[in-house]
Symmetry: C2
Subunit: 201 residues, 2 copies
């Protein structure tokens, strides 16, 4: 005689919350209870923020970033260095680099990595658009800021071959010891890379 | 030169998501990206469900359950056994018992447990209302379905003393081996309780 614990409105809320990444059925129920308890401080503002984002947010036609305008704020920013395009796999990577404030140039969101086994080829990513942007006058460097994974590295190889004749510098992120990292906990590949790329003090 | 990664609409969404239980700053960003990607399938329906819940959900004046009506669906259900009141600490516990479909009677949500160190006394819980309900004609049993914690047990003792002269049965949940549980992993207290309350086969 299993019954629904709450009314259809709450069940619907729990079901939708459970489809968010990081929330399972149990934590979705806890989240729903929390939202109902914090109705004015959290549930109403969050509902409004979601509705507004659903209405306003668009993908930048130039770089693929998310913003309320297209081209996005970054692409339109004249103070940014138009000679550098930093290519990332996903928008989350763009956000991470922006938080660090380490990229003075523009971005290009690829939308993933090449993955023949999953049927993801060059046409499923924005590689064509990247090649087009990289050939525009004024662009001198394309920095491939991909994850240090097999997929990231093979995608980087593919793109660097595509851009071989563009007459621009293709660069990648350095490998090495993470700042604050302890040698004892690092894998051999990272240690080997850090030794190989050692710098004079 | 740390900058905001995204526009103010997305930042607001991330900040609000980060205040949900189970989502930290990093997972809030991932959740925001996921919502934007699943705009029509998830973000709009979730925003609508939250707005609707914020508008409609009320606490039942009788038992404290959450519903769109007060008294709630359970309190109004004539097929339920009005002689039994099952007292729980929180609404999440009520939901758990309803999912299991094991309570034929009504509920009473206490709103927490007595905790003198945190300044939570009887007047901060719905104990007065419970005593009033328990003395209504037709009520024969109050089942204290509290967590098997110090706080739950001391609250149960306090309530059973309050109801001592009401002429009704006060019961608590059985202790023992959880169904599917392995003895090897159980604590001594549970094993002792399971032995003490052993039943003939």
């Amino acid at each position: 005689m299993s019954r629904k614990a709450a009314g259809p409105e709450i069940e619907e809320l729990i079901a939708l919350l459970g489809r968010m990444p990081g929330l399972g059925p149990r934590s979705a129920r806890r989240a729903a209870l929390h939202l109902i308890k914090k109705r004015e401080q959290l549930m109403r503002p969050l509902a409004a923020a979601m509705a507004e984002a659903a209405e306003k947010i668009v993908a930048c036609a130039e770089c693929g970033n998310l913003d309320t305008i297209s081209p996005c704020t970054i692409c339109q920013d004249a103070r940014r260095d138009a000679s550098l395009i930093c290519v990332v796999e996903e928008i989350g990577d763009l956000w991470a680099l922006e938080r660090a404030g380490v990229i003075s140039g523009h971005y290009h969101v690829l939308g993933g990595t090449l993955s023949p086994l999953d049927g993801i080829g060059p046409d499923d990513l924005t590689i064509g658009k990247l090649v087009e942007r990289a050939r525009q006058p004024g662009v001198t460097e394309v920095l491939l800021a991909f994850n240090a994974t097999i997929e990231g590295q093979s995608t980087a190889h593919y793109i660097s071959a595509e851009l071989e004749n563009a007459g621009i510098t293709i660069s990648r992120l350095a490998h090495g010891v993470p700042v604050g990292g302890e040698l004892d906990y690092l894998d051999e590949g990272t240690l080997a890379a850090a030794i190989k790329s050692r710098r004079p003090l």
